[in-house]
Each structure stands twice: as C-alpha cells, then as structure tokens.
Subunit: 82 residues, 2 copies
C-alpha cells in the first residue's frame, strides 16, 4: 500500500486569517522571533495500490476533483510505503 | 531563518469525521482503492533563529502551549532552512 502525505496551503497572496491569528497569539505569548505563520490542511490518503506512477496520477486527480481548491490553494505531496 | 513544517493529525482512535466524509466522497467519485483518509492541520512557522536545537525546543513548546491540542492531536515536524 502507498500513503500519500498531502500538504495544502493557501496560495501566496491569499489572506490567511488563521495564520495571522496564530502569529499574534504567539507574539502575545512572548515569542519575539516569529517571522510568519501559515495554516493549511494536512491529509493522509492510504491507497491499495503498489504502482507509484499510477498512485501519483490518482492523487493529483483526487486533489483536483475533491480534496483541494485550486483557485486559492496549492498542494504538495509525498508517497510513502506503508 | 528556519521554517518548521508541522503536521498535525488526530490521535489514532479519535473519531475523524472529516476524513470519513472525504473517504466516502472519494468512493462515490469512483475511486475503489481508498483504504483510509485522515485529515488534520498543516502549519508552517518561520522563525528568525539560526540554532536548530533552540528552534526545535521552541517549536515543541509552541505546539504544546498553543498550536496543537495534546489531548486529541499528535504532531510531527521538520525544520528546513529558508
């Protein structure tokens, strides 16, 4: 089986209020060295599939069709054996 | 600067309704080889810090104090130079 570890973040330039809130909260807690916080989604999709090339194509398709919003989000993923 | 890439998932055993919904939707879209979907958070925290050991300790502390909920969530992170 292959597990896709998918990281999804808002595109650069899209307002990230959740990240900004975390940034302010960390400053308020006394962390003075925070440069930026960005918050997105993390997905693990485990596939009954052995072929990496097929799995890669399928993950891209699933991200486009359902898992991410291409208008405002970017994603990257890695496949690991499980 | 160092960037912490933090992956947060619900602990094993904690109900993940968002993951289950995505699993069902992928099946409904015709993907028959989905074994499991888990959905969590992904955070990128960029620190004005050069020392990896100090940064690592700080990220752990920030996760415990603010960024994650230790009762129901597990996290892992990597530090990358930016």
């Amino acid at each position: 089986m292959l597990k896709a570890e998918i990281k999804v973040l808002l595109k650069q330039g899209v307002l990230d209020p959740q990240g900004q809130a975390a940034e302010k909260s960390l400053s308020a807690l006394g962390y003075q060295n925070i440069n930026q916080v960005r918050i997105g989604k993390y997905l693990e999709v485990t596939l009954n599939e052995k072929d990496r090339t097929a799995a890669e194509a399928q993950v891209r398709e699933m991200c486009t069709r359902l898992l991410t919003n291409a208008v405002i989000e970017d994603y990257t993923f890695e496949l690991v054996e499980v």
